[in-house]
Every structure is written in C-alpha cells, then in structure tokens.
C-alpha cells in the first residue's frame, strides 16, 4: 500500500524508468527460464 502511495508521488519520468526496469528484469528472467529450461531437456 505504501509503495502505491510512493508511486503516485513519482515524477512521470521516474515512473517510466521504473516500468522499463521491471520490464527488462522480466525479460532477463524469461531469457533465463528459456535457456536453462532448454538445457534441462
């Protein structure tokens, strides 16, 4: 909840940066999953 309030106070620029960071992180995890998953098979 606190984090949500913090989000509302963020500048547009930082909010977009935050979104990009989490997207990059998800892309990284996805890549890991695919690579290691293929190796496992």
């Amino acid at each position: 909840m606190d984090k949500k309030i913090e989000l509302t106070r963020m500048s547009n620029e930082n909010l977009l940066k935050l979104y990009k960071d989490i997207e990059d992180y998800i892309a990284f995890l996805d890549k890991e999953k695919k690579e290691k998953g293929t190796e496992e098979k």
């Binding site: 989000l7 963020m10 989490i22």
Partner: protein
C-alpha cells in the same frame, strides 16, 4: 528515505546475484533454479501490474483534461443567438432557411443516390411544416410522375418512415420512364417556395423580431454581439488545456515540434531582434503580433485562393446598370411558363379521365395520341423552366450587387454577397475547379465558415474597386513590428510562412494554457503502449 527506483534496482540486482550463485550443474539443481526464476517472475509481474496501473491512471487523467467552463458558457450564449444567416440582409428566406441547398443538392442527383433525394424531400417538407404549411400530394403537380411519387412519399412521411422498399420500387419505375424526374421534384419545390414566399418572409421576420426583443438588441447589435462572442471563444479555446491536449492526443502536434532549439531557430528566422533577450512582457507582445500576422496571412491566403470570386463580383459591379429589371423580367417569364405547365398538366389529367369514358369512344384514338405526346412536350417545358431558374439564380446575385455594392464595398462584403447565394456560389467554385479533383461542397462550406468568423481586418478594409499591392502592404505593416517578412516570401512561400507563424502562435498559447508539458511528453510515450495492449 530510499528512493523507490533505487529500491527496485537493488531488489533486481540482489535477485540476479542470488540466481548467479545458485548451482546449475545437475538436473535437480537446474530444476530448483528454474523454480526460483518462475517465483521471481511471478512477483515481477505483480510489480509490473502495479506500476502499469499507476501509468494508466495518469494517462487517463491527462487525456481527460477538462475544458475551461467558460468555453461552454460562451458556446451556450452563441447558440442562443442561433444562426446569424437568418439576419442576412442580402438574401431571402429561400436561402436563409436552406431551400437553395436542398434544391442544389437535388440538382446534383447524378452524384448521389435515392436516399439523398428522399432526405432532401423530407428536409423540404420539415421546413414547410415548421413554418405551419402542410403540403399534400396535390401541391406536387409539376408532372404526373411527381404527383404519383409524392402520394406514396407523403403517406410514408406522415407515418414517420420514408425509405420503404415500396418507395424505392416506385422511384425505379418512374426513373426509367422519366430520367428527368428528379428535376421535376427540384423545380416543383422551387415553385412551392415561390408560391409561399410571402408567408415565409412574414413568419421569419416575426421570429427574428422575437430574437431581437429577447436579446434587447437590434439586428446590427446582435450580429456585432455574435462576432464579439466568437472572438472571445476563439481566444479562450486557443489557450484551453483540453483543446491543446486534444491536438497532441490526435497527433496533430508533437511535443518535439516545440522544443527550445527549433523555436529558437524559428524566432531567429522571423524576428529581427533577439527574442530571448526581451523581457517576458515584451516577448508576449511579440507573440501577440505574430498572432495578428497569422490572421492576416489566413485572410491573404483566402483572398488569393478565391480571387476569382472577387474578379467575378468586380465584373458584375462594372456592368451593374445592365441588371436593372432583369430579375423581374425573368421572374415574370417563369411565372408564365409555370402557370402554363400546371394548366397543361390539369388538361392532361382530364384527358386521361376522358379516355376511360365510354361516351368519348369515338375520340379515343385522338385523345390517346395527345396523352402519349404529353410527357415529351411537358419535359421540354420543364427543361426551359430549369434553364430559367439557373438564370434567375445569377440574376439574384446581380441584383444584390447592383443594390448593395458601391465604390466603398469591401472585399469581405463582396464575398458575403456571393456566399449568400449557395447555388451561384457553388457553380462559381465548381467552374473554377473544373479540372481539379476538389470537393466543391467542402470548399464552399469552408469559405462560408471563414467569412462568418471574426478577425477580418485586411479584407474588411480593402475596397473591391482597388487593386492594391497586398503583399507589400502586409510586409511593410509587419516590418514595423520587427517581423522579417518580405513581399516575395508571401508570393512564393505563403504556406511555409503560415506554418511557421502558426507554430509560434501555438507555442505561445501552449505556454499560456498552463498545460504541463511533462504530462504531454508522458502521454506521447504511453499512447502507443496503451494502443498495443488493446
């Protein structure tokens, strides 16, 4: 306090580090590794959703930027005045109430379809009804075809529908028998208006008087008020946050178009001093002058584009003495021809009745021959009447030029005279664009709108009989205000100059609108992402 951005960065790098230390050498280890990745991914998606929710919330708030309530108030006040064309001193209720447009539209039937014909008939009947005149099929007696068609049309119109298959079938049937059938409708309508014109004039005068009384203003006062209110509305709208945001939302403007560097280049090109060395107040004054220049350029652009209209009025004005009584004569001729046509129609109706009567058996052949010949003869008369109506359309303009134009007549007033007669105006524009692929209706409507908008300084002051060097006048006027504008620029690069000046004016209005440019940038970035997700 730790920034949420740093916090996320730390969270991500910690997780990555934990993952990097996990062994993946055996199948079991790999499986554990994948389990952790999936767990982290699930959490990451939740975080992403929360952030996205905030982004959408902001985007929705930005795109629903509210309009200044004064805009609505002004629009309401303007709508109370209604259509100022109703107070136009130059034309009659035929033009004021839109009968000229209806008939002109029917005259262009080959460009349209049956729905267009029926919609126009309905419009025509609606106006008559609004003015307390109820028409019956007997009023449509220009030909037996129109009489038959209107019988069914009125039946359907009175029952609230007028697009049944029955009507379509009847139209087809008649159309192949008489391809000029739509002309019959058009001319019969003109005839009906002429027969009722006095009633429309009286009623419209009374209605206008009521409007003046309610507003406690006379005709000139109310027209002046209309223009003043429109001036305020335009001023307010140009700086209205919703209007400005709308331009960015609809991609008409891009925030990058207004960046400091490109604006510096523009001011440097068009302003002879250093704009950025000026005080805030002085900068505002410069920008307001650019606003005036934009209005002038738009006026000049219209003048240039529609100079053929001005030339036409000039020619007519030079020959104004020859117009004397021409309209009266044509109207008299028309009346004679129409009365004759209606008489012949009645006679033909009687002959049809007689042909069925057994007592006239002996004359049947002769009667039937007359009935057979009638449509062709009648159509010849109708074509003559149509030609006469077109001549009358032009004579009406001629008469008004003779009556209202003098050596002090401004270019704006010359436009107004022609604009007051739609059919003539349309034909003039259409003739001028005979070889181009131009939407004439759109052209005509945009010029009418332009003439009826405020901020007409130049065309309001230049006289019809003058042949001024307009480009020099504009250039000299704005050079005094330190705006770099050469006569040649106006002659050769008008579009580019207009775009550049408009950009300066828009930039000024954006700054005055209190709109948050950071919000605009944000909206521009998010818009494609939202569109992708939909």
């Amino acid at each position: 306090m730790i920034d949420i951005l740093d916090e996320l960065e730390k969270y991500i790098s910690n997780n990555k580090e934990v993952l990097s230390t996990m062994p993946v050498n055996t199948k079991k280890n790999k499986s554990k590794y994948l389990e952790s990745v999936e767990e982290l991914e699930e959490k990451a998606f939740k975080i992403k959703d929360i952030i996205w929710e905030e982004i959408v919330k902001r985007y929705d708030r930005i795109i629903s930027t509210e309009e200044n309530p004064k805009v609505f108030e002004l629009e309401e006040e303007i709508s109370k005045i209604g259509d100022i064309e109703l107070f136009n001193e130059l034309n009659t209720p035929y033009e004021k109430l839109g009968f000229d447009r209806i008939n002109h539209s029917l005259g262009c039937f080959f460009e349209g379809d049956l729905n267009l014909v029926n919609d126009n008939i309905k419009l025509f009947l609606d106006i008559f009804k609004e003015y307390g005149i109820v028409l019956t099929a007997d009023d449509f007696n220009y030909s037996s075809f129109i009489n038959t068609y209107m019988k069914l049309f009125l039946e359907e119109y009175n029952s609230g529908k007028f697009d049944s298959d029955k009507l379509k079938k009847l139209f087809e049937e008649i159309y192949w028998k008489c391809p000029d059938f739509v002309t019959h409708i058009e001319l019969n309508m003109r005839y009906l208006y002429n027969s009722n014109s006095k009633r429309f004039e009286k009623e419209l005068d009374e209605r206008n008087e009521e409007t003046f009384e309610e507003a406690q203003l006379d005709k000139n006062g109310i027209v002046k008020k209309f223009f003043e209110l429109n001036k305020s509305l335009i001023k307010l709208k140009r700086k209205d946050p919703k209007y400005i945001m709308g331009k960015f939302i609809n991609d008409e403007w891009r925030i990058s178009d207004f960046n400091n560097k490109s604006m510096e280049v523009l001011y440097d090109r068009l302003y002879s001093k250093n704009y950025y060395d000026l005080s805030k107040e002085a900068q505002d004054e410069v920008d307001i002058n650019f606003g005036k220049l934009l209005n002038t350029l738009q006026e000049y652009n219209i003048y240039k584009k529609y100079k053929f209209i001005i030339d036409d009025v000039k020619t007519k004005y030079a020959n104004k003495d020859s117009f004397k009584d021409a309209l009266k004569k044509k109207l008299k001729e028309l009346n004679k021809k129409e009365q004759n046509l209606i008489k012949e129609n009645k006679k033909n109706k009687r002959l049809i009745k007689l042909s069925k009567n057994v007592f006239f058996k002996l004359f049947r052949k002769k009667i039937e021959h007359k009935i057979y010949e009638f449509p062709v003869n009648s159509n010849i008369q109708i074509k003559e009447i149509k030609k006469l109506y077109l001549e009358i359309d032009e004579e009406k303009v001629n008469e008004k030029i003779a009556e209202f134009a003098d050596d002090n007549c401004s270019i704006k007033y010359a436009f107004k005279i022609v604009e007051s007669y739609y059919s003539y105006f349309y034909e003039l524009v259409s003739k001028n664009h005979a070889d181009d692929d131009v939407d004439v209706v759109k052209e005509v409507d945009s010029l009418i709108e332009f003439i009826n908008q405020p901020y007409k300084v130049m065309i309001n002051n230049i006289k019809l009989i003058e042949e001024p060097e307009i480009t020099s006048i504009i250039s000299n006027r704005y050079k005094i205000l330190n705006i770099k504008l050469e006569k040649e620029d106006l002659e050769e690069n008008l579009d580019t100059i207009m775009q550049d000046v408009e950009k300066i004016v828009n930039y000024y209005n954006i700054r005055k609108s209190n709109i948050n440019l950071d919000d605009v940038r944000f909206m521009e970035k998010i818009k494609p992402m939202i569109a992708k997700k939909k």
